[in-house]
Symmetry: C3
Subunit: 136 residues, 3 copies
């Protein structure tokens, strides 16, 4: 009898795991515009999510790609806010595909920023893991 139940228990365990995974909150915020107003809006979004849900209860990532990569360059108009967001535990992430295509080196990117091969693929991965997605 125990043997016969194994697949059921396995499927149930998978389901339970997937349901438990969604207890904590997570959101990935996309920045794909070269527009400081959008950058500030995305940073406000990150801050408000942490304030509303409690910094320890939610994972927040900002993913910049395409024309949005400019938000993360050393000369960015929001460099100080990026530093604060990182210090507050927001994952700030740059797309290396965009960097390659636009000849931007890691040394031209603000400190504290992390890198992924492809911003869009990272966003897909997060959605698959059950993260929310917001595109300001």
């Amino acid at each position: 009898m125990k043997r016969a139940l194994t697949p059921t228990l396995f499927a149930a365990a998978l389901c339970t795991a997937s349901l438990l995974a969604s207890a904590r909150d997570h959101v990935v915020i996309q920045v794909s515009d070269n527009d400081p107003a959008k950058w500030n809006l995305a940073l406000n979004n990150a801050r408000n999510v942490q304030a509303d849900l409690g910094m320890d209860n939610v994972d927040v990532e900002l993913v910049a790609y395409g024309p949005g990569l400019a938000m993360l360059k050393s000369e960015s108009a929001v460099a100080q806010r990026i530093a604060s967001a990182s210090a507050q535990g927001v994952g700030v992430i740059a797309c290396e595909n965009t960097m390659k295509n636009t000849k931007v080196e890691r040394s031209q990117i603000l400190p504290g920023v992390k890198f992924v091969d492809a911003g869009v693929v990272h966003i897909m991965k997060r959605q698959k893991e059950g993260w929310g997605y917001v595109r300001p």
Copy 2:
């Protein structure tokens, strides 16, 4: 035997519940631009979703935050369409974080509009509940 099955049945029930929850359709439409063309597009989206799926088979919410809040102010260029959408059962929702930051009172917002603390957190909540998300 019955006792031993309880966790399995519980997990299965949770899964079934989560699957059944997705039988009905739901979508949250985000408005975060101060751009009447975008507002009209979002309102068209809401109308088309109701027309295509049947008004009684789908829940539609419009969430306005950041620069998009202007869509819901008394002097909005789409005030009449907001009234029609509400009358057709679309949930029209304003972000109170944005209102606080831009010193907008509830009295300056169109009648019928509902309020949430943080528009982005509401969008995350809906996604977690299995709603679709569209950002026109």
Copy 3:
């Protein structure tokens, strides 16, 4: 005993099916702006997703609606890239609601493009099926 287990097994099977369904990657990319820079960004996104995950491991769809429909008209500035994307297995999809509202005939749309009644409803359907959603 077998009978009593049936609902459990059924729920478990449904769950397993839904979990297996998410093993392959899928993404629907929305185009709702009349802006060739956005069209190129969306096409770059589709190409990067295929390059990063492997063309055979991921389904990619581009859905154009509202002002974004212009991307798929014969005179589109990205007509050649649309042809390449189709040839590479990207599903390129036009919204017939938008076509009706803007009096665009199928004959005015690029070859290889597919049609759905309502672009937004198609996006909702894909999200419900577990596809990722990206709005460049």
